[in-house]
C-alpha cells in the first residue's frame, strides 16, 4: 500500500512538472518536485520503502530528460544519503529547519547538474544563467518546499488512518 502511495504521488509529480507547469510562466524557474519527495522519503520512511521508489523514478526521470543517463538517479540517491546522514546529528523534523533542508537538497541537485554539464561539455558558458536559475530555485524551495513535505506527510497519515478504518471494519 505504501509503495502504491509513493508511486502514485511520484507519477502525479512527474506529470505535473512535465505537462502542467510549462503552461505557467511563474513556474519557469521552479525546482524538481521529486527532490522534496526524496527528502520526505529519507526523513520519514525506511530504506526498504524508499530505495525502490527512488531508483525507479530516477530511472523514469532519466528517460524523460535530455541529460546523461543516470544523472537523476545519481542526484536522488545522493540526496537520500545526504539527508539520512544529516538526520544523524541534526533534528531536521523541526519545522524551522525544513525550508533549509529542502533548499540544500535543491542546491545539491543543481550542483550535481552543473558539475556534470561542466565535466562532459567543457567550455559551456552558463555562469550568469546558472547563478540566477539556482537562486530562483533555492528561493522557491525555501518558501514552498516545507508545504510539499507537510502535504506528503499529511496524505500518508490520512491514507494510514483510512487503511486502519477499513481493516478494523472488515475484522
Amino acid at each position: 500500500m505504501t509503495y502504491c502511495f509513493h508511486v502514485g504521488i511520484c507519477i502525479c509529480l512527474v506529470l505535473f512538472q512535465t505537462t502542467v507547469m510549462p503552461y505557467f510562466n511563474i513556474f519557469d524557474g521552479f525546482y524538481d518536485l521529486l527532490s522534496p519527495f526524496v527528502i520526505y522519503l529519507s526523513l520519514s520512511h525506511s530504506l526498504r520503502q524508499s530505495i525502490p521508489v527512488i531508483l525507479f523514478f530516477g530511472f523514469v526521470m532519466d528517460s524523460l530528460s535530455g541529460g546523461p543517463f543516470g544523472l537523476y538517479l545519481t542526484t536522488y540517491v545522493w540526496l537520500f544519503v545526504g539527508v539520512r546522514w544529516i538526520v544523524t546529528f541534526l533534528h531536521v523534523g523541526d519545522s524551522f529547519l525544513l525550508p533549509f533542508v529542502v533548499a540544500a537538497g535543491v542546491l545539491l541537485q543543481n550542483c550535481i547538474f552543473i558539475g556534470t554539464i561542466a565535466m562532459f561539455k567543457p567550455g559551456t558558458q552558463f555562469l550568469s544563467a546558472a547563478i540566477s536559475t539556482v537562486t530562483v530555485q533555492v528561493l522557491w524551495a525555501i518558501f514552498t518546499g516545507p508545504i510539499f513535505l507537510m502535504f506528503f506527510n499529511y496524505s500518508h497519515n490520512r491514507l494510514n488512518r483510512w487503511r486502519k478504518k477499513v481493516f478494523v471494519k472488515e475484522s
Binding site: I11, V14, L15, Q17, T18, T19, V20, M21, P22, Y23, N25, D28, G29, D32, L33, F59, V60, M61, D62, S63, L64, S65, G66, G67, P68, F69, G70, L71, T74, W78, N110, F113, I114, T116, I117, M119, F120, K121, T124, Q125, F126, A129, T133, Q137
Partner: protein, 272 residues
C-alpha cells in the same frame, strides 16, 4: 576515516558510470519502456489542459480577442500590401527558375505531432511528442515548425518520441548567415539563446542578420530559418568571433511540431 574514503570511492565510481553512460548509452529497451509508461499520462493531461485552455480562450477571454482583432486588421492591411509585392517576386522567381533549369524542390514527407511534455529541468531542453516508431519517426529526424528549426529526434518509442531542442547544450546545427554566407555551428546556450560558434573573425556578421541551416549536417534541409543574430563580439585575438543567436522558434509556446520523415540525405544516398 574509512567512511570518508568510502564516500570518495563512491563519488569516483559515480562519475565514471555517468561518464560511461554519457558516451556510450544507447537507449533501446528500458528507456523506451519508461517513456511508454509515462507518455500516455502526459498525453492525457496535455489534452485536458488544452481543452480547458481552448474553452477559456474561445468563450471567456473575448475582450482580449477584440483587441487582438484590431491589431490583426491593421496587420492584414500591411500583409495585403506585402502580398502584392510577393506575388511579383514569385512570378519573377518562377521565371528565373525555369530559365536556369533548376530542379523542382523536393518536398519532404512530414508528420505533425503534438507536444505532450517538457523537460522539467532548466539545465536540459527536451520535449515529448505524441508520434513514434509506428508513425514512421526515426532517431535523428529533423523537427521543424514554419517559424524555424525546433530540434531533432533523440529517442523513439513505439508511439512517442523525445526531441532534443536546438537550445540544449548537446545540440549542434550546421548553419550560415543568410546575408554573408558565413558558416558556423549553432550550439544551445540557454532557454532562449544559442551560440553561433566557429565563425571566422574576418567574416561579416551583424546584429539582426538571419541565420539559416546550411544542410551540411545531413539532418536539416538547407535554408531553414534558425534565428536572428542578437550579439556579436569580435575579440582582438583569436580566429573566431563570438556570435549569439535568438531562435525564431518560441520554445515556451511550442504546441505542435512537424517531424521530417524522409530527409533529403536518404534520397541523396538512394540516388547514388
Amino acid at each position: 576515516m574509512v567512511m570518508i574514503i568510502g564516500v570518495i570511492v563512491l563519488i569516483a565510481v559515480n562519475i565514471i558510470l555517468l561518464s560511461v553512460s554519457n558516451r556510450y548509452y544507447q537507449s533501446y529497451g528500458p528507456g523506451r519502456i519508461a517513456i511508454s509508461l509515462i507518455a500516455p499520462f502526459q498525453e492525457a493531461v496535455s489534452r485536458s489542459i488544452r481543452f480547458v485552455k481552448d474553452i477559456w480562450v474561445h468563450y471567456f477571454f473575448l475582450v482580449e480577442t477584440a483587441k487582438e482583432n484590431d491589431i490583426y486588421k491593421k496587420a492584414l492591411s500591411h500583409a495585403v500590401e506585402k502580398d502584392n509585392l510577393h506575388k511579383e517576386l514569385k512570378l519573377s522567381n518562377n521565371r528565373l527558375r525555369s530559365l536556369l533549369n533548376f530542379q523542382k524542390t523536393i518536398t519532404d514527407e512530414v508528420i505533425s505531432a503534438e507536444v505532450i511534455g517538457k523537460d522539467s529541468s532548466p539545465w536540459f531542453n527536451t520535449i515529448m511528442i505524441d508520434k513514434g516508431k509506428h508513425d514512421g519517426v526515426k532517431k535523428g529526424a529533423a523537427v521543424v515548425i514554419p517559424e524555424g528549426i525546433v530540434g531533432q529526434v533523440a529517442e523513439v518509442s513505439t508511439n512517442y518520441s523525445k526531441i532534443l531542442l536546438i537550445i540544449d547544450h548537446n545540440s549542434a546545427v550546421d548553419a550560415l548567415v543568410q546575408r554573408t554566407r558565413a558558416r558556423g555551428i549553432i550550439k544551445g546556450a540557454s532557454s532562449d539563446r544559442c551560440l553561433f560558434k566557429y565563425v571566422l573573425r574576418k567574416k561579416g556578421v551583424a546584429v539582426g542578420d538571419t541565420v539559416v541551416s546550411s544542410g551540411l549536417d545531413g539532418v536539416f534541409l538547407k535554408g531553414l530559418p534558425v534565428g536572428r543574430v542578437s550579439g556579436v563580439i569580435r575579440p582582438n585575438s583569436g580566429i573566431f568571433q563570438e556570435v549569439s543567436v535568438t531562435p525564431y522558434v518560441d520554445f515556451e509556446k511550442l504546441e505542435e511540431v512537424l517531424v521530417v520523415l524522409n530527409p533529403k540525405k536518404d534520397k541523396f544516398q538512394s540516388e547514388q
